[in-house]
């Protein structure tokens, strides 16, 4: 079992209840997409799984361990086996892409190697290989501030691929990419997860991408699991219920539909 949540709730500091009594099991090697309207708690859930947030109540088990019962050092060791792709990758603007990618292994390297790598990149071929999978090898020595939003997202993905975690979490990993690139990038992530037999959990707001790439879909709304089923069993009625917004008028609801076409490569 890769992930096991029992009645997990999360309350933010401003008393907003982001997640309510979530029960969820994900086996190792599974590929799962989380969909849901804005503010449903997708990011909160992924940050919780990445041990970036502490649950307010309930039991959270990640890779067979209870992260919040571990000592700091052990939790840091557990975290080296978890990789989180951020929607807006937090990379210093002046950092070079090669350094940003190689930083994925900081948890596995000792301090001496980390500092040495900071002065001179130690594994340039490794960084180039991960970037090449995402068609970004030509930006190896560019500064992060010179990249567009979509390129920056791919740098963030390359970093996590270089980290080679056992649990790969992705928070809207392709939100700033064009449809072709988004499709290609998700395919790379899924292939990587399949080849390495690791668990992949991604949140997406493009429903058709989720249905096309992931065998299991979890619908999240108001911090609760609305449905959790195989991709081929998800129907339009469930999606309408998931994205229903009583505050907006008609055009907004029709924006989400299965008929949206993605260009295939």
């Amino acid at each position: 079992m890769s992930l096991n949540l029992r009645a997990v709730s999360l309350r933010h500091a401003n008393a907003v209840e982001a997640l309510r009594a979530i029960d969820l099991q994900i086996d190792s090697g599974e590929q799962v997409a989380i969909i849901g309207p804005s503010g449903a708690g997708k990011s909160s859930l992924l940050n919780l799984l990445a041990t970036a947030l502490t649950p307010s109540s309930g039991e959270l088990q990640v890779l067979g361990a209870h992260p919040w019962q571990l000592a700091n050092r052990q939790r840091q060791r557990l975290r080296t086996r978890i990789g989180l792709i951020h929607q807006a990758p937090p990379l210093p603007p002046r950092q070079r892409v090669v350094t940003a990618v190689l930083a994925g292994k900081l948890g596995q390297w000792g301090l001496a190697k980390s500092l040495l790598n900071w002065l001179h990149p130690l594994d340039i071929p490794g960084a180039r290989r991960e970037l090449a999978r995402l068609d970004l090898a030509d930006k190896l020595f560019a500064q992060c501030q010179q990249l567009s939003g979509g390129q920056l997202q791919r740098v963030g993905i390359a970093r996590v691929l270089y980290q080679a975690p056992e649990l790969l979490l992705a928070d809207e990993p392709v939100s700033a990419m064009d449809p072709v690139l988004a499709d290609h990038t998700l395919a790379v992530l899924c292939q990587h997860a399949q080849a390495q037999r690791i668990t992949l959990v991604a949140s997406l707001h493009a429903v058709e991408l989720a249905l096309a790439h992931f065998p299991r879909i979890i619908g999240l709304r108001d911090g609760q699991v609305l449905f959790d089923r195989r991709a081929q069993d998800v129907d339009q009625a469930q999606l309408d219920a998931l994205y229903a917004n009583e505050h907006l008028h008609a055009p907004a609801t029709s924006a989400v539909s299965l008929s949206v076409q993605t260009a295939r490569c």
Partner: protein
């Protein structure tokens, strides 16, 4: 109706805050016994005029210029050595800063109360170091190690390590914390997260502040020269006692050039790092 549309909820608090600041500043003016009228007094104006008149022409005899050069080099050496020793504050700044808190990374930027408590002894040490003015340290060290530049270097090192430690710690906290937090959430150690996540964003600010402090150290070393800690200050003190206004003027000009150079250096380094 119109008033509800254009109403800014921040307007009243801002007005009250302005009034509060004025109410607090007024007694301060009273207590400092500021009286600009003294400057307009005829006797005082004549005395100042005489002193300023002696400034021109600038002293430029070879002997004096050699002396001036040596004193300038000594001042720069005191300031630089003092700053170099003060950089020992870097470990203290890392300990004092919340930016390297592991608990803050998973608590929306706020460290655990207990961990925060442990930062206080370091903060306290930095406060002690900088709360005593460098001139007082200099007087103390002049007694301990005798007249000369050593006292100045030690005084600058102590006071400035307090200032650098505090401000460095705050600069680390003021830059974007997410890169470092993301690294710590991927299992990285704190120091590595600092180097990869905080330093790239803070480098320009740190450099600029360090060069500015170096400029301040030059000034401070001059002031400390007055109490016998060597350098330009000691020479200015001697020249003033001998009413050699032209020598004082030459030294002030040198001083201006030093500050100008420090300013240019800071600009250059910032430009490279920004």
């Amino acid at each position: 109706m119109l008033s509800r549309v254009t109403r800014d909820p921040a307007a009243l608090p801002r007005l009250l805050l302005t009034l509060l600041v004025l109410a607090l500043l007024w007694p301060g003016l009273e207590h400092s016994e500021l009286d600009v009228g003294v400057l307009l007094n005829a006797d005082n104006q004549r005395d100042m005029g005489r002193f300023l008149a002696a400034f021109w022409p600038l002293a430029h005899s070879t002997d004096f210029l050699v002396l001036l050069f040596e004193a300038t080099v000594q001042t720069l050496a005191i300031a630089t050595a003092g700053m170099a020793l003060a950089l020992l504050a870097i470990p203290a700044s890392l300990l004092a800063s919340r930016a390297l808190s592991l608990s803050a990374a998973s608590r929306a930027g706020r460290p655990k109360p207990l961990a925060n408590l442990l930062r206080w002894p370091v903060r306290g040490l930095l406060i002690v170091l900088r709360s005593v003015p460098e001139i007082v340290w200099a007087l103390l060290f002049v007694r301990a190690v005798g007249l000369g530049p050593t006292a100045g270097v030690l005084a600058i090192a102590i006071t400035y390590s307090g200032m650098l430690g505090k401000v460095y710690a705050e600069i680390y906290e003021s830059v974007d914390q997410r890169p470092a937090h993301a690294l710590m959430q991927a299992g990285s150690g704190r120091l590595a997260a600092f180097v990869y996540g905080i330093l790239p964003n803070a480098a320009a600010e740190l450099t600029s502040y360090t060069v500015y402090r170096w400029e301040c150290a030059i000034r401070a070393s001059v002031v400390m020269g007055f109490v016998g800690a060597g350098g330009l200050g000691q020479q200015i003190d001697l020249s003033m006692r001998m009413f050699a206004g032209n020598e004082v003027a030459s030294m002030l000009l040198t001083f201006l050039i030093l500050v100008l150079l420090a300013d240019q250096l800071s600009r250059l380094l910032r430009g490279r790092l920004a």
